[in-house]
Symmetry: C2
Subunit: 199 residues, 2 copies
Amino acid sequence: MTTTPRTRLSPEQRREQLLDLGVRLLAHRSLDELSIDLLAEEAGISRGLLYHYFGSKQAFHEAVVRHAADDLIAQTTPPTDGEPLVRLMTSLTAYVDYVVANHEGYVSLVRAAAGGNESLRAIYEDARSSLNSRAFREDLRGEVVADTPANRLVVRAWSAMAEDAVLTWIDDPHGMTQEDLIGFLVASLPAVIAVTPEG
Amino acid sequence: MTTTPRTRLSPEQRREQLLDLGVRLLAHRSLDELSIDLLAEEAGISRGLLYHYFGSKQAFHEAVVRHAADDLIAQTTPPTDGEPLVRLMTSLTAYVDYVVANHEGYVSLVRAAAGGNESLRAIYEDARSSLNSRAFREDLRGEVVADTPANRLVVRAWSAMAEDAVLTWIDDPHGMTQEDLIGFLVASLPAVIAVTPEG
């Protein structure tokens, strides 16, 4: 069942629209469940046209995941004004909201990246690196996190802790409210930086 | 090329010996590279006999990984005497030594578990749970970590941080000595517990 879009879009706009749809479909599905057939059905266009836009299932998955990662980075952008820890809290609140709203897709990305799909791993690592490097532009308790190699390692490891905490909390809140969880995430970054050796 | 063992071992002893060999072979190999053929060659016995002992490649991998996890748990057992943070340091030093010595096998287990192999994931989670529950039997700065749900979530997340820190450090030390790394791991546990909400 092929329908013609009512508005004429450029190929770039059409591809963008299909990626937005792919990201929405991924929110509550694993990558394995996100097929070209499903996207074709939901978009009301032919599989052939989707292959024209994306080339292959793997290329389609990469494009959707990259789009989702860009959304995550955009949605968690800290405000430019305000107290450093309040800005960090705003950003981490958006992160928790994102993972809650896109749980299935997020978990399947983490699994695909960790499980050795090299191109998805590269997209995941790029996004993580973009998120983490924000720490070095933020003031924490009045001090910028010094951009040392040791602090880079620790911020990266802290983000693994944050991700594990959020995913565990979604499965079982362990008696913590969302506010408790975010408070922990915010406070734990300066706490671990404080015990990092000079490097 | 089948050879007969010089000492007559019981089937249980023989299986144990084969698992020890499997664990040694896994240290510098991924699970994908650890085949029944390789074990047969290294053990000097027939593939048929290995299938008799283990049933299938998947069952063989599970047995080897369970054996490796038991080794990790045994090797990182904290001493029963001494200052709490010294005991924690002894245990974490053994953990870092283990991951350094078994890097390829350890990474491939983490990837297999994270990548969705459910039986390997269960073994990994069991081992992690055994390691983490030690925190609740240790005194830190004179106080036992209270066994609350929130602290359970945080200790689990802290162990994800520790694992990420060690694996990143092995790839690139980021200017940190092994002593620096272990110092960070030891100090970060009470640091994150200190900012955990009562739960």
